[in-house]
Amino acid sequence: MGEKRRGITADLSGWLVYAAVTLFVLMVGSIFLTVLLNSFASSWFGGWLPDEYTGKWYAFAVNEFSLWRVLLVTLIVALSVTAISLVVGVPAAYALARRRFRGKSLVLGLLILPLLVPPITYGIPLATMLYEYQMAGTVAGVILANLAPALPFVVLIMTPFIEQIDPNLERAARMMGAPTLKVFTRVLLPLAVPGLLAAGLLVLVRTVAMFELTFLTAGAGSQTLVVALYYAAFSAGIRPGQSIDAMAVIYMATTLVLLIAALRFVNPTNMVMRVR
């Protein structure tokens, strides 16, 4: 009897989880679905579904929001931030994983801080400084600003990953006479590829979604998709709502592609920062 009752309660709690997940999916799913439907609606007044469908808002969004340029800027910014933070961050992660030195906890603290304090707190002075160096509003300025949280993020993700790689492999390669550079490129890097992919994709996704720093440093010609979307939504009323939703759908599609790529390589529980 006791055994049977336990089976039923376990099922019940399982169903409660499914119910909660369904509710969440239903809510988030319908939010996205309304955006999608509205972007194809020629008009939608009060009914359950739009009255008629059209594709003209996408053409409108492409012209009105100079979408191709915005997409290109987003791509350039996201890829540059990812590349630079990997190239600079991985050696630093290696040093933190393999070496003991004085001031190591200071370095770690320095790397955690940019991920903790709100971006707007250092974004405003950073924007002012970029302005003084005539870099405000340029794509280079946006890339620099986005590096501030992206680089520490890569270092903190890659450090435990490199710790897992057996140091004996490097020692063996060294003993057989491989120079440092060769140890790095032929032994370490191939072993670190899964971690590099994970860190790279996560930084890519985060940079595409990063609002505050880009918002503070971008000019008219260096907006990324998320900032352009914010401006469009902020000035709603000037342009038809459907064209803003078309923009939102394009943003959603971009991030979803990146996300699906990321999920192929990363376990969802590792998507969040690993802090111990």
Binding site: V21, V35, W48, V275
Partner: protein, 291 residues
């Protein structure tokens, strides 16, 4: 000098590996931050005294209210996230069909970001949106609920954006707890609630603290959704918005920096309090094993 450095374990290779990253973090984070502190201590036009920018912010009732507005958003969202995520993560630590798709589902809104969620919410939760339509059809309400352009709207959008992070962290912690510990509790006669509250929950608490800290960090910095689905002139005029308005609407960079530094200080104090609470909790192995 070099002798001391070698005693500290610092050599040329270490500097080569670590140097570029440190230079970038100092140039792009530490320097701007110190510069911001400097600007915040430089009196703006018509002000005197090195704390006058802070006095301008904290002395104005409307400006000061932005601090409470932010906390009044960040704290309830963080608590709600944890309260909903703990039981789900607790259940999902045992095998459940569709575990991977379920966790994947939660990742999606996390990376979509608050701007998109806010934009979608305007239609979905609007007076003619599906949510109100369903409620009206079912007869739950007589007239549409006002769910956007107010405080509730910001709460909903932040809950959607931050719940995944909290859930995934807690899931990571919960699945690291050895099920044998609960089995042992059951053999010793503990009921289901006792096993949860006396065994698993205490072991999950460090994860709860981390998740709450990260959720607080993200919600405390709320900016776009406070403008888009909130009431930016009233109840959801948050600190980030106050700082932005001071800088780019009034061009008062002194007060803007003072607001930004105050914001960082309040946030770091809150996070430190959460993490300090964590360090007082049980820390140790969550696996069984022989001991």
């Amino acid at each position: 000098m070099s002798k001391m450095m070698s005693r500290w374990g610092i050599d040329r290779n270490l500097l080569l590996l670590l140097g570029p990253a440190l230079v970038l973090v100092v140039a792009l984070f530490v320097w701007p931050f110190l510069y911001g502190i400097g600007v915040s201590l430089t009196p703006g036009p018509g002000r005197e005294g090195f704390l006058s920018n802070y006095a301008a912010f904290l002395g104005d009732v409307r400006e000061r209210a932005s601090i409470w507005n932010t906390l009044w958003i960040a704290i309830p969202v963080t608590i709600a996230n944890v309260l909903v995520a703990v039981p789900i993560a607790y259940r999902m630590r045992r095998p459940l069909k569709g575990q991977r798709p379920i966790s994947a589902v939660f990742v999606v809104p996390m990376s979509l970001g608050v701007v998109l969620v806010a934009e979608g919410m305007l239609t979905f939760f609007g007076p003619a949106g599906w949510f109100n339509k369903v409620l009206l059809t079912l007869g739950v309400v007589n007239e549409p609920l006002q769910l956007v352009h107010n405080y509730i709207g910001v709460l909903i959008s932040l809950f959607i954006a931050e719940f995944p992070v909290v859930f995934l962290i807690l899931l990571g912690y919960a699945s690291g707890i050895d099920p044998n510990l609960e089995r042992a509790g059951r053999m010793l006669g503990a009921g289901a609630w006792q096993r949860f509250s006396r065994i698993t929950l205490p072991l999950m608490m460090p994860g709860v603290a981390i998740a709450a800290a990260l959720s607080f960090v993200a919600t405390f910095a709320v900016f776009p959704s406070a403008v888009l689905v909130g009431e930016p002139a009233g109840a959801t005029r948050v600190i980030a918005l106050a700082a932005w308005q001071a800088a780019y609407e009034r061009f008062d960079f002194g007060e803007a920096s003072a607001i930004a530094i105050t914001m960082a200080a309040i946030e770091l104090v809150c996070v430190a309090a959460i993490l300090l609470g964590r360090s007082r909790l049980y820390r140790g192995p969550t696996g069984g094993g022989k001991g």
